[in-house]
Symmetry: C2
Subunit: 270 residues, 2 copies
């Protein structure tokens, strides 16, 4: 999927919402646990109720791996369902992978070929040759961690490296890598005031922005500092949408919450 | 498993070798491809032939994820086989995970509970709250990426942060985290000359050292600069051992190569 296609979706749906599918069996409605594949049934219901309100879905792989083979199967079923029913929606494997070259190639195959995701999140610590194997895949996107939404971001990411914060160094350096046009970046909504500086370095790239909702980030601030000509933002909410209710009405309640965010986005876009 | 138990193994086997189980179906003997689970059959044969020569096994999860559910099943069978047949051998899930707190907890459950590994490799970019959920597990070890063996390590890890290289900052900072006694660190053998400085900061921690063999690192140099009272080193070789032959004799050939390394280690220990 190209960024132009993502932008077309944004204009059509008047939304730049990404819904995080982080399924925790301890939090989903109890009646689903009796089903053969509760994780997939939960995701399917959420997708059926919200697909017209969002432009991207982002399963975080941790929540699937925690359930072993059963979880991995549910992840596969979820991405197959998305690709079959909603091929126009951008899919993100939030996996935060990264390893030496030949190993990163195997991760890229896992997410781009075996699971057919449009994109995958990748950690930058191991540098160029750990990220370029992902960038080599045509029409796929590599979403590099830059400035994350958690408190630990201040441990290393905002430390000064050669008079520039590490996350800015990551942005600058990554622009020189092969196929860097396939890069997007993770920037946490909890650090919206950093977005103006970030847009100086990467004016055109799409940003995946977690942290609106449960983590306390503010949508208006993120848009004020982070929006570009193609919008350039995918605002993620996971817990804030999918766990609004754990009753029979969970999907409906999630859609209502997603709709509230979509309406705010429509207003910002108009 | 405690580090004292690892040290006891090292003394008993006169070895501090870790064998990387990075199974690539394009590289294993062709006759195995006819078996129902070629990945597990390959690992089983390697384990049967080498378990007396090494103190740790390290499957890199990328090589399993690349084969989807089939790969994940083979990983599960491999770790179950190891825990059943060789509970005294230290097991490392080389997964390089790391995410915000509640998500890292799910990864920790995946590797420490569902798969019952003794340890997992973790990336430091997201800081304290992305690593502490792993450290909270008793008798489990978190192996933090410090200075990796690849060329990309020079992109960020060796850059100066507040007058100290980033990897040293990672070492210093991580010592202040809760349950930091459960930390080990990845330090690439290709950068052996950095080990003297590293031992100033973390004299007692175990180091997982990849990069001897295929990547060009030197065993003698690593030991000269990196060894401590408990030895404190787990020297990994993957491709350099498991792909010596792709004929019927592959396991025997791997054992021969492992034995050469073990003999060098025995000499260093004596």
């Amino acid at each position: 999927m190209t960024t132009a296609e993502i932008f077309a979706q944004i204009q059509k749906k008047k939304s730049f919402l990404c819904i995080g599918l982080d399924v925790d069996l301890a939090k989903i409605p109890a009646f689903l646990l009796e089903k053969e594949d509760p994780i997939f049934e939960f995701n399917k219901a959420i997708i059926d109720a919200t697909h017209h309100l969002c432009v991207a879905y982002k399963p975080n792989t941790a929540f699937y791996e925690a359930y072993g083979i059963k979880g991995w199967k549910a992840l596969k079923k979820t991405i197959c369902y998305l690709n079959e029913k909603h091929p126009d929606i951008f899919t993100i494997a939030d996996a935060k992978r990264g390893d030496i070259g030949n190993t990163s190639t195997m991760y890229a195959k896992a997410f781009f070929e075996d699971l057919s995701f449009d994109s995958v999140t990748v950690a930058p610590y191991m540098g160029k040759d750990s990220v370029e194997p992902f960038l080599a895949f045509e029409n796929k996107h590599t979403i590099l961690l830059a400035l994350t939404s958690n408190q630990g971001a201040f441990d290393f990411q905002t430390q000064k490296v050669n008079e520039q914060e590490l996350y800015k160094q990551v942005l600058e350096t990554s622009k020189t890598w092969n196929n860097s046009e396939n890069l997007m970046y993770v920037v946490g909504a909890t650090k919206a005031e950093f977005l103006a500086d970030i847009r100086q370095i990467i004016p055109d790239a799409f940003l995946l922005v977690p942290g609106v909702g449960a983590q306390g980030g503010n949508l208006q601030d993120v848009c004020k500092y982070g929006m570009n000509k193609q919008v350039g933002l995918l605002i993620n909410s996971s817990r804030g949408i999918i766990y609004v209710s754990n009753g029979e009405d969970f999907a409906e309640a999630a859609a209502k919450k997603a709709s509230e965010l979509q309406e705010q986005m429509a207003e910002i876009l108009s």
